[in-house]
Amino acid sequence: MIQALRKDARLRRWTLLAPAMLFIGFFMLAPIGLMAYVSVLERGEFGGVEWGVFSIDAYWSFFFERELDGSVAVNTDYLQIFLRSFWLSLVTTLLALLAGFPTALYMALQPERYRNVLVFLVTIPFWTNLLVRNYAWILLLRNNGLIDASLNKLGITSEPINVLYTPFATGIGLTYSFLPFMVLPIYASLEKLDFRLVEAAFDLGADRLRALFRIIVPLSAPGIIAGCILVFVPCLGAYVTPELLGGSKSMMIGNLIQAQFGASRNWPFGAALAFTLLAIVLLAMMVYAMRFRGQAPGETRQ
């Protein structure tokens, strides 16, 4: 057996992959398949589902609705919610990138004995609970909160800052929540960068911007892409931070789906929403894959 493993690269590959694949296959794919089944069922009278009774209602109601006079019209409510969430996730990812890249660079430049410590330092604040962190932000961002009071005392502002319960506050909170997920993959990628290449660029007369965009960024691209995926996708489903910091006047995809398994008790619709979201994201990933011609996420042309 070991002999076979040594000789055959393909066998080796699939043996290494097997545990992860089997685990996810069994504990993720099977449940998701169950959910796909749920999404085409009739919703139960008391909540849950009527097992065995089929209905396309869930998917239909995403795009259409019955008006008051009984006619069928296109329903844009859910599309608006989806768009808003996508936009928010995009902004969050960009902000996290802007904040995270310089920091990852800084970490990669440190002497080796400090680097591991810095990795932990980046994540220690996240050992606390999400709810607790959000409450801390509420205290910081409130009118008469810590930031407002300090700015007032320093004479920088005279009016209340009115930040909390706006989309701006949601952005601050969400970016904060996802910072390590952007910094660490970029750091992992940057850390092995051979800085002699950069030195060579400077020697050849390149200025800093050029060196940055022509050498450092492309070589750390796998990390950047990994970070963006790890921020953008989970951000789509976020619901706690928008609810607490944004004042709950508008819904995100996360709130919408959550409600289907909560107060609305409409499981098929919740499942249908999730699969629609999944389809959109997979489509985007396929487009990306086609553009880079079959390369896996995190890869770049070398």
């Binding site: 996810i24 932990f120 709810l131 205290l139 390590p180 800093r208 940055l212 499981w267 995190g298």
Partner: protein, 264 residues
């Protein structure tokens, strides 16, 4: 080479200050919550005096301590399992293109793409269907599933662009000696594995929705406990237990750093 003060990257003068600002942004809420854990008043927004008595309340509250303990156990188990599986997977997908690659990547990323509430209910339905008894184990299994992609992506990013010559050398050595593999590829991969493992740890520690649905009776974790309090609001008791978790993490980091130094 890197880290040397003569390193040309120090010409990017914005790097250090922006890193400084970053860490300030990062630790601001943490500082607030630690300060609040000493607030005498139950209401977080009104400071009436310094008092450590909330820590006493936490330490005598069995439910909250049980929840914190469960959280740590689950997070350690799930992140270890997830990171190990992810490392194998990353190594496997690193070499030349192979058939079924996009499918593999899709499957590995799947836990990220599905909203948590859906995964939660689906997993519970599935566990009930196969007759698996709910408990701490079911939580660990569910957590491992989503830890895998969080560990996989940084490790994979690390592998990409690693000097191919080293890769080939390792492969040759691999063909002869398993030990050589662990001494060449693995140490090179280490920053990626550490990043991935730590990310997996915090994502598991923070998870609420999935844990809520698949935990057995008595297997409550800290996030589930705290979220249950959402209607009442966050009490200084909760801040105290969070501060305690922070202390645990700092202790663990210090120990690992000391071990690292001793080895050198």
């Amino acid at each position: 080479m890197s880290g040397h003060r003569g390193n040309p990257l120090w010409r990017f003068r914005g790097v250090a200050p922006s890193a400084g600002l970053f860490f300030a942004y990062l630790y601001l809420p943490t500082a607030v919550l630690i300060a609040l854990s000493f607030n005498e008043n139950r209401i977080a927004t009104i400071w009436t005096g310094f008092s450590p008595h909330w820590y006493g309340v936490v330490l005598s509250n069995d439910d909250i301590l049980r929840a914190a303990r469960n959280s740590l156990v689950i997070a350690i188990a799930a992140s270890l399992a997830g990171t190990t599986l992810a490392t194998f997977a990353a190594l496997a997908t690193n070499s030349e293109r192979f058939r079924g690659q996009s499918l593999v990547n899709g499957l590995l990323a799947l836990p990220l793409l599905v909203p948590e509430i859906v995964t939660a209910v689906a997993t519970l339905l599935f566990f009930v269907l196969i007759g698996l008894k709910l408990g701490i184990m079911t939580v660990i299994i569910a957590h491992t599933v989503f830890c895998i992609p969080f560990a996989y992506l940084p490790i994979r990013a690390r592998l990409q662009g690693m000097d191919p010559a080293l890769g080939h050398a390792a492969a040759d050595l691999y063909a002869n000696e398993w030990q050589a593999f662990t001494r060449v590829t693995l140490p090179l991969l280490w920053p990626g594995i550490l990043s991935g493992g730590v990310l997996a740890f915090i994502i598991s520690l923070d998870d609420f929705v999935i844990t809520y649905f698949v935990a057995g009776a008595g297997a409550t974790t800290l996030p589930v406990y705290i979220f249950g309090m959402i209607r009442i609001g966050v009490t200084p008791e909760v801040n105290a237990v969070s501060a305690l978790m922070l202390m645990v993490s700092i202790v663990m980091v210090s120990i690992s750093w000391l071990i690292g130094r001793a080895r050198r």
